[in-house]
């Protein structure tokens, strides 16, 4: 045999070997099974940034979790698989320690398992489906248990979930993480919604050329882009204070039989939100198990007639314009008044002729406030209302903020000027009231409230600039108003609940709820707004209850709650008594 023929045979053998190998990879190897395990092998999800309290404790962080899917045609015993999987794929609320002691939840759990079993069975017994999603965001423990069953045809993908270590604490403030229409994690409501674009980070891209075993081939086209973790937020929330407030609020709402309650605490000098709580609340980790009505944050989204708490805005504006002084006597306070065809009376039908402006605030005298509103007139009253930030957004960094309702000036009538002076005929949000009273506490300077003070990106801290504020009334007027509010606390209806020895500036409010063109006589919104210590305020706080049933008045519901929380704050901040 010639050498050429030998060479030819060698070439043919090599070619046959190559063809045989190609045939193996194309038709016989396990490439198909590997490929379906990668939902989107090219994209590497970015971890979401955390939300941290002032002391860098994670109020919202991430937890290892998985997506479980099935390949129906590979599963040999669908019924058996569904039976094993169902108890591990029911809602998390049935897996808590408290759930195991709750008879209602135990019976609900059995029903949930049964329903889930049917659901899984319908999915995995359908051989027309190539790939079917069973559940997203199951825990690592559940994954381990499922893996121990050794069921062929099941697979997992990393699908981290949001974890809130303090459960429902500050839920309305934080918001929650759900999915958008593409199945990507997206923040909704609160900080999660407002800062979603910087919390979510940027997905990376992996190698798209893989060998049959799934390893990347390092060709010239090999290029990976690592995911960029979302920025973390450092908030101004003081975790112990938030905890104190939530605890006190829950007890108070139950004690006074209120529909709901809200507390907001700000640092008046910086506008930083120290605590913001609402009860009832929900757990953001399992948000879908709660009524959607609980998602929005009443502190920024609810509008209500502020009632007597608004008197401090009217009075401080009149003081600022030197239209009245704390000792100016009311010449129209001897009895009810008729304005624009309506009778204006006091809340308790008691009248104090020749009472001073300080007395008007202390007695929460509606008739006295009409005296002040007449001094102001429409233009100056309207200007004061808008200067204090009512009728527009405060600029707080939360979703769903409402601007409230202040009618256009041409729509105001004589009666509107009178009623607005004591907080009727306009709608405000709790955060607007706190912001306005914070301006009085801060020497007349109005500061936009803020929750996030800095962001952390790859370990680099970027501080957010602080609002310099706008002087809305003079320092003198603010000091005079503060003293009048101290008098209102010391001599008002709620003086019995006040911590002894402390100078606290405050004002109660009891607003009736408008209903079909008139006020419901049995439903009120009771509130108390104030700050302490009066001479150098450390905090400004609003307590608000919707429709309390034990008493309709703010002095008997919101004020005691305010003082209970204030007492805890004096302890926490180490603020000594004034005298």
């Amino acid at each position: 045999m010639s050498r050429l023929k030998v060479l030819l045979i060698i070439f043919i053998l090599i070619a046959v070997t190559i063809l045989a190998r190609l045939f193996y990879w194309q038709f016989l190897s396990d490439v198909e099974k590997r490929t379906i395990s990668d939902i989107n092998p090219d994209e590497i999800p970015a971890p979401r940034g955390e939300i941290l309290s002032r002391d860098s404790y994670p109020l919202a962080t991430n937890q290892e979790a998985y997506l479980i899917y099935a390949t129906p045609k590979v599963i040999k015993d669908p019924a058996g698989a569904a039976k094993k999987l169902a108890p591990l794929l029911i809602p998390e609320k049935f897996s808590t320690i408290s759930a195991s002691a709750n008879p209602d939840l135990i019976s609900q759990k059995e029903q949930a398992v049964e329903a889930q079993q049917k659901n899984i069975m319908s999915k995995i017994s359908n051989n027309d489906l190539y790939w079917v999603l069973l559940k997203r965001k199951i825990t690592a423990q559940a994954k381990s248990q499922i893996e121990s069953f050794d069921i062929a045809g099941l697979g997992f993908e990393r699908d981290d979930k949001r974890y809130y270590p303090e459960a429902s604490m500050a839920a309305q403030l934080l918001g929650f993480v759900g999915s958008d229409k593409f199945g990507n994690d997206t923040g909704y409501f609160g900080l999660e919604g407002y800062y979603n674009s910087i919390l979510r980070g940027k997905a990376g891209h992996g190698a798209n050329t893989l060998d049959p075993k799934g390893y990347p081939i390092l060709t010239s086209k090999f290029k990976t882009t690592p995911p960029q973790k979302g920025s973390s937020l450092i908030t101004t929330i003081d975790r112990p204070i938030q905890f104190i407030v939530e605890d006190a609020l829950e007890k108070a709402v139950e004690k006074y039989g209120a529909k709901d309650g809200t507390v907001v605490i700000l640092d008046p000098k910086t506008g930083h939100v120290v605590a913001m709580a609402t009860y009832p609340s929900y757990n953001p980790a399992t948000f879908s198990e709660y009524e959607p009505g609980l998602y929005k944050n009443p502190a920024v989204a609810d509008t209500y007639e502020p009632g007597s708490t608004f008197k401090v805005v009217t009075m401080s504006s009149a003081l600022d314009l030197n239209l009245v002084t704390p000792t100016t006597k009311c010449t129209t306070c001897s009895g009810p008044r008729e304005i624009g065809g309506y009778e204006i009376s006091t809340w308790n039908k008691k009248y104090y002729p020749n009472s001073t402006m300080t007395d008007v605030i202390a007695h929460s005298d509606n008739v006295g406030m009409t005296f002040v509103s007449e001094k102001l007139g429409l233009d100056r009253l309207y200007s004061a209302i808008t200067k204090f930030g009512f009728g527009k957004l405060t600029g707080i960094d939360l979703e769903e903020e409402s601007p409230g309702v202040v009618r256009n000036k041409p729509d105001w009538h004589q009666i509107d000027i009178a009623t607005a002076s004591f907080g009727q005929g306009l709608a405000v949000t709790p955060i607007q009231i706190v912001q306005a009273v914070g301006a009085i506490a801060n020497g007349g300077k109005l500061i936009s409230p803020k929750i996030v003070s800095a962001t952390v990106t790859n370990g680099k801290v970027e501080n957010y600039p602080q609002d310099q504020g706008t002087q809305v009334i003079s320092q003198k007027a603010a000091t005079q108003m503060t003293e009048m509010m101290v008098g209102a606390v010391d001599n008002g209806e709620a003086k019995a609940f006040k911590p002894k020895g402390y100078r606290i500036a405050g004002k109660t409010g009891t607003a009736q709820v408008p209903l079909a063109g008139h006020y419901d006589p049995n439903k009120t919104i009771a509130s108390f707004v104030g700050f302490a210590p009066a001479q150098n305020p450390k905090f400004v706080m609003l307590v608000r209850f919707t429709e309390p049933t034990s008493s309709q008045f703010g002095s008997e519901t919101a004020a005691p709650t305010f003082f209970t929380i204030a007492r805890e704050l004096f302890n926490y901040y180490g603020i000594p008594a004034d005298h």
């Binding site: 290892e64 690592a140 974890y163 390893y215 081939i217 000594p576």
Partner: protein, 120 residues
């Protein structure tokens, strides 16, 4: 004087190495182009060897490159494992140090909220 045919043969020898050798043998004449032909062969040989060497090196590198993907995957998997452990520890720390958890433990241990304001 050389005949025309001789001249043609000689010219052919100049252009063909094997013919040249035969011509040299027949004529027993020392041709000055002999050394030049040997150099050409050596260059060709060297180039062939270099090409073979480069091809072999490429094969070796390609073979190594194919296993680097596996190494890279194992390194990335290890990084992923460590990050998962880190995440796991972080949320466990957050869970045990949550105020909700601490207050429950404090209550069990008999701690109570102070009745009076205690300040320095």
């Amino acid at each position: 004087m050389l005949s025309v045919t001789d001249f043609k043969y000689k010219t052919n020898c100049y252009n063909n190495y094997n013919a040249h050798k035969r011509y040299q043998h027949v004529q027993n004449v020392n041709i000055p182009w002999e050394s030049l032909g040997k150099v050409k062969i050596k260059i060709l040989l060297l180039l062939t060897l270099a090409l073979a060497g480069l091809l072999s090196a490429q094969l070796v590198f390609a073979a190594n490159l194919s296993t680097d993907g596996q190494t890279l995957t194992s390194v990335e998997r290890e990084i992923g494992n460590q990050e998962t452990k880190n995440l796991d520890l972080r949320w466990k720390i957050a869970e045990v140090s949550s105020l909700t958890n601490l207050s429950q433990k404090a209550q069990k241990l008999g701690f109570v909220t102070p009745e009076k304001i205690i300040t320095p």
